[in-house]
Symmetry: C2
Subunit: 583 residues, 2 copies
Amino acid sequence: MENLEIQRHSLAHILALALLRTYPEIKFAIGPDVDNGFYYDIDFADKKISDADLVEIEKKMKHIIKQNLKFVRSEKDIDQAIKEAQESNDVYKLEILEDLKKEGESQVSFYQLGEFSDLCRGPHLESTGKVKVGSFKLDKIAGAYWRGDEKNKMLTRIYGLAFSSPEDLKDYLEIAEEAKKRDHRKLGKELDLFCFSDLVGPGLPLFTPKGMIIIDALRSHIEKVCRRYGFEKVMTPHLAKISLYETSGHAKKFSEELFHVSSEKGHDFVIKPVQCPHQTQIYASRARSYRDLPIKYMESEKQYRAEKSGEVGGLSRVYAITVEDGHTFCRLDQTKEEIKSLVNIIKDFYSALGLWGKHWVSLSVRDYSSPDKYIGDPKDWDICESILEDVSNEMGLGAKRIEGEAALYGPKLDFMFRDSLGKEIQIPTVQLDFATPKRFNLVYKDRDGSEKNPVMIHRAILGSYERFLALIIEHYGGAFPLWMAPVQVKIISVAEKHIEYCQKLKQEFLDLDLRPDLDIENETVANKIRKAVSEKVPYIIVVGDKESKGKILAVRKRGEQKIEEIKKNDFIEALKREIDDKK
Amino acid sequence: MENLEIQRHSLAHILALALLRTYPEIKFAIGPDVDNGFYYDIDFADKKISDADLVEIEKKMKHIIKQNLKFVRSEKDIDQAIKEAQESNDVYKLEILEDLKKEGESQVSFYQLGEFSDLCRGPHLESTGKVKVGSFKLDKIAGAYWRGDEKNKMLTRIYGLAFSSPEDLKDYLEIAEEAKKRDHRKLGKELDLFCFSDLVGPGLPLFTPKGMIIIDALRSHIEKVCRRYGFEKVMTPHLAKISLYETSGHAKKFSEELFHVSSEKGHDFVIKPVQCPHQTQIYASRARSYRDLPIKYMESEKQYRAEKSGEVGGLSRVYAITVEDGHTFCRLDQTKEEIKSLVNIIKDFYSALGLWGKHWVSLSVRDYSSPDKYIGDPKDWDICESILEDVSNEMGLGAKRIEGEAALYGPKLDFMFRDSLGKEIQIPTVQLDFATPKRFNLVYKDRDGSEKNPVMIHRAILGSYERFLALIIEHYGGAFPLWMAPVQVKIISVAEKHIEYCQKLKQEFLDLDLRPDLDIENETVANKIRKAVSEKVPYIIVVGDKESKGKILAVRKRGEQKIEEIKKNDFIEALKREIDDKK
């Protein structure tokens, strides 16, 4: 256990002691350390506590720290511990003790802190005085079912934040504050990027014109990049007979995530939860020769997964998933090069977003102890794993081998990034698959006339547009780079007499395939600039007497205070360069 | 009855007499005239007849025509006719007679031709000699259930073609032959534009890279045109709660066409059969002011309808319908101008395809005798009808008023075209709708501060990509105009030493966003040209010694035999112009 974790866990006990001193009747459930601090789940019976109470409790915790009380470990025979828990009617600890006994434990350890004694494995700080002053803070109150099961009683969970130093706590609070401002649900609404409807239902986002501009900018960018690497666009329907997924193996593996489709006329379909099986059928629609390979399909269509209704929310977890999906069918001797070119696409794409470098790569292999969770021949799996390992070595990816993270049909390279607020994001992936082509009996005629199965490579670059949009909204805090900004230039009129030129200018930008917007309202320029700034528009152009003459523009760049004069043609050139650079 | 119809109907009787002379035991059902000729349904008992027999029967018909037999009309008391039919065991005529009696008929007419007498309203030619020699032809044999009901006996239907003159018959046969060659199912397979999969199911086309190029070319063209008219792209999911369609009225009206969606976790959705209700929810997601209107959304997503499984086929009738759909929300005082701009989009789009001019317009109004088939206030319907009538008058559309063809929510202008083979196509439509905004409680704040419902205008320009693709495949016979051709230029190498330049040329075209394809196989140039011609590629470039030097191209244009020399830059300029012109 690391030092910080020990401090966090000890703080959970300090919280418990502070609570016990205030509310002697409460019952304690569990109090672990977590990623950013600690919590304790408590049964307050019918008493309610509020955020105001937290202030008092935090004061008492600080007092306990000042007291420098010792954490004293002791061991007990488990039957003795059970007996004592029964006598004190300590129902939650009792349940834990009985489980431990069932698992064969005979001795258990307790930690005594002042008048609070807790069943606990430890370890703990030597004494409360070791907690660094100013490095923790009680955060919030939430409800939590005992053991996470909604059939059980709802307990009160008190969260605390704790870090190695007051500076780290301050940094965390600042980032959390920024993350709240950047929350894609909040910004999505403010910037009018997407919406939900009670009549349509949650988990089913509707993309408004501005959100759609971002999606289309991303789509045409990714399609252009992939086309350069030989990908061709296809389109497949959302429905299929279940037999398609029985063949692929998804029917069994994803049975709970499948949406079933029926009609009064007796139709019986499922909605695609993935794109790959449909795309195999395009491959299968014609005879293929070794000279035709590699064949690469890409597609940007929706797939649907029956997530738990309680878990859908925002764009991160939805039923309707618009995936930028692609599959390469190639010969074994082409496989390594194809994987490398896919890694290069990923590298190019995420470098442009400034995320490459802040990443690590997982070589996600199978769980060797549960072969029944996968389809395909173990020998093929071994070959696939060694190909991916070679690619990692030859390209210097330094992939870490993670067991149990493989796909249904094969191992994969997963790329993990951190966004501008440090949140880990796992989106791009390259997956090697010998099994699916065999299950669908996909073949090509080789040079020697024999029939062979192609290798199938699955890849995601930006993954789903929904999750990717959530990511970039939060990554950029809504201040999108020029090439994806819904409004690229806001044109503001100084006075009524300048409106006509503003409109002319707007048309000029439109004709250049740029995305201008007008603000010719009868308000002050300062007000109009303020509005445009809050909309995070990359460039604001203010049109007064001088500008109306036509050669010069007064431009304010996002993030800067000053308004600069620039020749119109130079400005347009600069815009185009910035868009092409995708910076 | 027109002359041609009379001749066709008389030919059905002549066919019957010829059959009676060959097969005295057969029983006659019905023998009407149809669009391109006539048929007779006959009960041959257990006898089978073949196409070879048709030759003999046609000879006998010609003999009957030469005989110049008279058609003799007579009237009978219906009970007498029933009695005679019973005696001769003429079961089909008997059933018809009994129905006529039930309907209150007391007298029926018969036509005697030689030894064949038929219950028939007439009229007929005076005598068989009036049939123009060479103007008819027996066509084919098919099965047909008595009275079209599959519970009844299957009869043999013999089809004949008949026209006013031998020339008209010849024209018809030529067009029918061409139509067979141009059948989109046949060409779609030959040109590799789309495919079907048994595992996915019929009615669910999969679009291959070449088909997708055409769809994307159409999509980006139509979106560009519509954007110029103020349309903004949105994207909505395929699922919704049924409450969305209960509100819109579709749940009741389209109940049989709805696909229902469920999951093991208890989800309950329907798949969208139309796009409009989803788009109303984007409008409804924000407060709107009179200054925001008109708001125009467009979308190219799939909708699904549960067609009868026996009726889906090719691209013309599918479950998965990718619609280019759009909706305008505007104020009443903007409505007429908005409708006019939509008519102009339709005019522009179909003019480019060479179809405008060969069209007529229907003002499709409600069935006044069945008001319950529609939603909305009859007074609103009257206003809508008069607005559409005004537009038709002011734009000189000459719309014909057709009752009973309105949409669920309002009257519409439908545009009917004829393709290059004369087949009528009904695709574009502009529909006026006061009812839907009220049902969804869509509002805007008017200048005076009051809340008003916007007017909703539904429009289709190219309709569904599936039906439109079927149309243009057949209209162009697969020889697509340059701007939508999947392969625009085929580059053919003369000898091995020219391959490198061919590849360089291909890259050059690619960099110009053109769609080149290489044929560098080790075959004769003549063979490679033949292949490219059969693929209907607009331009073939042959690269030999002279061309490899880089300035000159040898180009063969589709439909021409000669190969012309042209400067490379001039050729590229010409291509770009042709693409921009969308000709």
